[in-house]
Subunit: 453 residues, 2 copies
Amino acid sequence: MVTTLQRPALVEGLQQRRQHLARLFSQPVVIWSGQAPSRNFPANTYPFRANSHFLYFAGRPLAHAAVHLHQGTMTLFWDEPTADDALWHGPQPSRADLATTMGADAAYPMADLPQYLQQAVCLPAQQPIWQSFSDSSMQPHEASQALAAAIVQLRLNHDAFGLAQIQAAAKVSVAAHKTGMAATLAASTEAEVRAAMEQVIMAHQMTCAYNSIVTVHGEVLHNEQYHHPLEPQDLLLADVGAEAASGWASDITRTWPVSGRFTSPQRDIYDVVLAAHDAAIAEARPGAEYIDLHLLASTVLATGLVDLGILRGDPETLVERDAHALFFPHGVGHLLGLDVHDMEDLGDLAGYAPGRTRSNRFGLAFLRLDRPLQAGMVVTIEPGFYQVPGILAPARASGEYDDAVNWDQLDQFSAVRGIRIEDDVHITESGCQVLTQELPSTPDAVEQLVLQG
Amino acid sequence: MVTTLQRPALVEGLQQRRQHLARLFSQPVVIWSGQAPSRNFPANTYPFRANSHFLYFAGRPLAHAAVHLHQGTMTLFWDEPTADDALWHGPQPSRADLATTMGADAAYPMADLPQYLQQAVCLPAQQPIWQSFSDSSMQPHEASQALAAAIVQLRLNHDAFGLAQIQAAAKVSVAAHKTGMAATLAASTEAEVRAAMEQVIMAHQMTCAYNSIVTVHGEVLHNEQYHHPLEPQDLLLADVGAEAASGWASDITRTWPVSGRFTSPQRDIYDVVLAAHDAAIAEARPGAEYIDLHLLASTVLATGLVDLGILRGDPETLVERDAHALFFPHGVGHLLGLDVHDMEDLGDLAGYAPGRTRSNRFGLAFLRLDRPLQAGMVVTIEPGFYQVPGILAPARASGEYDDAVNWDQLDQFSAVRGIRIEDDVHITESGCQVLTQELPSTPDAVEQLVLQG
């Protein structure tokens, strides 16, 4: 998972995380690593992915293990493999060796865990698991929520080890996107481009942080089908990100012309999305409100669409009435870390600052992050333009936006179904650093990468 | 999933399966399709894989759907996507359209299902699901077991549609293995060869039927790590199989020299494994006992190892005392169908004929299939030779096999850690057809494929 050279640094880094948690939360904590779910029958499992909180404090993707964290110490619970396990899965380290590589203070079999559970606090989603594992009653729900809040506070700002892992994942994602662009001219389906991109991720001993989107129907926001043929007039939207073996994620979207040349309407809209993307990143710095980056990107998008004659009116007023959201119905991005939507297993606890909740406004309801940015955070910036029939057809029929949208002019851009441009942005003390900057986003550079294939 | 041209044939084939079930089982049946498990947080799921029994009768991988089967009719239960679903996942067919494409007789929302559950029988593994879904008590465990037995009887022998899907998957697996061989000379890690192979599967719009094994440590039978460097003296064992979008599986293993040239000891052992493989396939026909193929392969293996001076004594006697199993500790294969170990969700009900149970003998305990072969079955044939330290070191230390094993001679083959050769075999009326025969298995042909890279 990590090279030998990194291991001492990792152990020290893990110990610092545990000590940091102890300063924020004084009660004992138990976190379970999870198990690989079955794919139709027990011997055929999905690839195991450990719980991210477990990975954050324990550092190794052990299946069916638990850690007990208290006052900066860690006790590992894990059952050593049986002789049968060794036959089928190869030699594995002993519990004692594992404990050493993780910097654990003690290590016991899972059967010893129940006696620790009674005094321990667990994560909200893991309460039912522990209740089934042990008869002992655990600490109440309020303590569980307080634990979650403490972990959010800790995981919002990445330490050097976490950041290095995101960078490593981002580097592989960049390579995957370049390969995908270069593979497009010779490909005849979405599936072939996806395969070329994921091959790069696999060859680097990483996994996909989420199910790839590689589609000529970018207007379907979470499209996970890859069967469409590639037509020369299509734009191909690829949202593909590598996850390091340590679990840390990256997340990149690019949109490129299948032919290697943007048509004029495609380039017009692409430039508008790129301007929104660049404007939001330019304002990303400590203290900036992420929702303001979202609104800035929305306003830049609206301005561009006014310039193209698609929208009519004052851009800020258009954004206030959600006219931009007809074309950009999602948020400008989210937290990135050990999860691609970092800590979303805790609901909006990580994404929304205390006291803030999601807006009911169409243009804000899908925003996953509403916090002031802080140095050490990593967020995505990913504005887009989509022509979603399920949004535009009712809006057009209703007449509600007739003063704001020039529907006839929009028809000139009917071949531009979906564009998104997404990068991973690390908030630094002085501003920000785009971790995925090695991947060009200008239309000329994107064309060049496609045509080089 | 299937092309338009195939669809009418599929609907008819599905109806035949339901009518066939009705002849074997008279009570109403409910089967749930399952849901994609979460990968750490709800919005990030593993790729959905529908329950295989559902796929067998319903033909489409719908998530969180159920079918009610009775007297040859099928009622579909499925909730139509919400407007939000359409935004994120694209337009989807209506319930009525789906019902038509599946040949269902009626279709209702999931909320209507509980009233059908009370009279229905479900699969053994789905009993807890239905109990949580509905307060109504279902038919008892005995009926559930009888249903499982009826489905086993039905699914053991593949119809033309199922067979065509296995063939389609096998064809892609063959291409993946050829690509893997050709990619080896230029690769520096197991991961790169795995990536080249899985790229082929993905590009063909298929998935992997199981987690790939691509390893220079073939002696670890279910090795799912890919980080080892490739050294010129290594053998690379690749157990990689495609699964069609319809869910039907294939399963191929080949072992090839990283350098493109087998060393003399490698070729000697490879030839022995290949002889065992060929001998078992030569005897595969209706009426043959699968366990006899296993014992035949074991005896041929033992004979070859005697010829090489590794084993001593009469091959049949060696097999009787499990001396061959020191090197070949698993079964010669398994059923293949909608699952790579077909119907293993039902335990040994499919693999073992009524009244038969697993042996305690070391050389037979891991055999997954003990039935007389019938026309229409598809099975794998996959003998191997492994030097598993966890088996050989204790055996050598115990002295128990000193008369049967020439340990000094075995040391001459220490670099041959793991070899397996696996093909998919369709039992026909007159004998058998190797569905994966387009992929060569002779050492010369394998060398040629590697060197062509």
